[in-house]
């Protein structure tokens, strides 16, 4: 019998648990233009992060490859929520999977307004809240490193929408548990993590940061062990409230995905690896199904959080 790989993130039901992470897929048009891209294996896509007003993004260079990773400093370049709602979504072709919108703001009010506006679109099935943004009112410290700020944002978003709300946590904290708890209490339907690791790339000849935005975020295979660590911590809190977790960070194969399920993920997202393997989602889906059959696992809940920790 075929294993059941369907899953849910709150009210969001997914035929398969593989999500495309925010930032690597634009607004859904570029990859499908490439001849061999296949939506088979894609459970949902997360759009590039959107801000209230259009944002130019950081000066280039914005990309640096590192050992087993990428540091990016895109700077949230996007055309703004109005353009998304008026032009991009209406002209987006029908996709075979749900679309998750990702929201970024610099104040709580911006998140509130974004949630209200985005919820008006019939094309959006869920909202992912990017709280890794700097809190301008508190000297640029990330919202997501402060449980109180994270709570405020989640509350604000929650009050404006009936869509499933996923809050995306930053790993640049000592302990994600208090943040996880705050956002769950404020009404999050699911937690997603991790976002990128704060990083610096240096050009030794110029003696300057290589990236135009100075600091950036590290993603890719290098961050997987860190992602698994934070995922586990978040899961240990989230499971007490029956809240599912979307795990991501360096996934590049079905076995990576299995590790994330074991650590506590109900669904997984892939990002950077899509850049060097356009058919990654399909490969993970096939590999996962094969692995589950071999191990007599019938459905994902049997795997989620099944990591054996003796203490």
């Amino acid at each position: 019998m075929e294993p059941d790989i369907s899953t849910r993130l709150g009210k969001l039901e997914l035929h398969n648990p593989i999500v495309i992470a925010s930032g690597v897929f634009g607004f859904g048009t570029e990859f499908p233009e490439i001849s061999d891209f296949d939506f088979d294996g894609v459970g949902a896509i997360t759009l590039k992060s959107i801000t209230l007003k259009p944002s130019p993004g950081n000066p280039p260079p914005r990309i640096a490859e590192t050992a087993s990773g990428i540091v990016n400093s895109i700077g949230l370049q996007n055309p703004g929520v109005e353009e998304l709602l008026q032009r991009i979504l209406p002209s987006l072709p029908e996709l075979p999977c749900p679309i998750i919108a990702n929201l970024s703001g610099s104040t709580v009010e911006e998140y509130r307004e974004l949630a209200r506006l985005v919820s008006s679109s019939a094309r959006i099935s869920a909202i992912e809240v990017n709280i890794s943004c700097p809190n301008v009112k508190k000297g640029g410290v990330a919202f997501g490193s402060d449980p109180e700020a994270s709570r405020e944002i989640t509350s604000a978003v929650r009050s404006e929408t009936d869509l499933p709300v996923l809050v995306k946590l930053t790993p640049n904290v000592t302990d994600v548990k208090p943040i996880t708890l705050s956002v769950i209490e404020a009404g999050a339907d699911a937690i997603s993590l991790i976002n990128t690791l704060r990083a610096l790339v240096i050009d030794p000849e110029l003696r300057k940061p290589l990236l135009g935005g100075k600091y950036g975020g590290l993603s890719g295979p290098a961050i997987k062990p860190v992602a698994l660590y934070h995922l586990r911590q978040a899961y240990l809190v989230a499971r007490e409230y029956g809240i599912p977790v979307l795990g991501m960070g360096g996934i590049g194969s079905f076995l990576d995905a299995v590790e994330f399920f074991l650590a506590g993920a109900s669904a997984v997202a892939v990002g950077s690896a899509l850049f060097w393997d356009h058919l990654l989602c399909k490969r993970i889906k096939e590999g996962l199904v094969h692995w589950m059959k071999e191990h007599g696992i019938h459905s994902l809940p049997q795997l989620t959080g099944a990591l054996q920790e003796d203490s």
Partner: protein
Amino acid sequence: MGSSHSRIVLQAPVIAHSARPGQFVSIFIDKPETSVSPHPNTMQFWHARSSPELHPCLLPRPFSIHRVLGDKVELAFKITGRGTRKLAGLRPPASLDIIGPLGKPFSPDPHRGVSVLVGGGAGLFPLFLLAEALRKSAKEVYVFGGAEWRLPHDCSDSSVTLSFLESDVTVAIDQFEELGCKSRVASERGAKGAYHGRVTDLLKLFLESGAGRSPAEIEVFACGPWEMLKTVARISRRWGIPCQTLLEQRMACGLGACMGCVVPTRATAYKRYKRVCREGAVFDAQEIDWDGT
């Protein structure tokens, strides 16, 4: 091709038959193995055994198309890091995953009969495909290449001849001559046989001399280092001559999805940064904010 540059010819019929001058291909240099097998592994990368590198190249690398020969695509490039070094070390039979052709190509004006191509170093290579197309439309083509010589020790002896220049550039110039282009090479250090100065000086001299041509007949196409292109843009603007520049930028996805490969333009606010892989790689020179980096 000397120790600093390399060429590679790839059998790629679909790309060969649809590639237009100024377009590029995206090459996956190391291949991840993520298969369902009896001994699955999280990630296995192939990379050359002879290389002391431990780290595979993750992101695909973009390369402008130098030439097309039937079903084959030829790339010529400068060796600048891990990826280009590995590519230069490949020998047949090797196979690579590549995507292309990508990017916006050059768009020559059918009403202008004189084309001036300005290439700085390896920037000369992608101009070849353009030169071929221009010659096919019976245009008069001038090619100016800028090159410096690389000797093991620093030497300002102007008795150093053209043959010591990055030999790949002189080979490329020969190829242009075979098409019927008129060419000159510039060398800042004064290699014999080359114009002593910058390649942009050659452009200026050409325009000042008139060569029997009015600015209304001329258009400029350029590829090379940023500062060189900035100068070409300035010269073209002063003469009122249209100029198209082929740019490059560090890329991640190469498709337009990630917003990584941008260059600054003179558009305002959020439209300031444009993608080299989508809105480029060819840009109108007057669109770019040359002081923006």
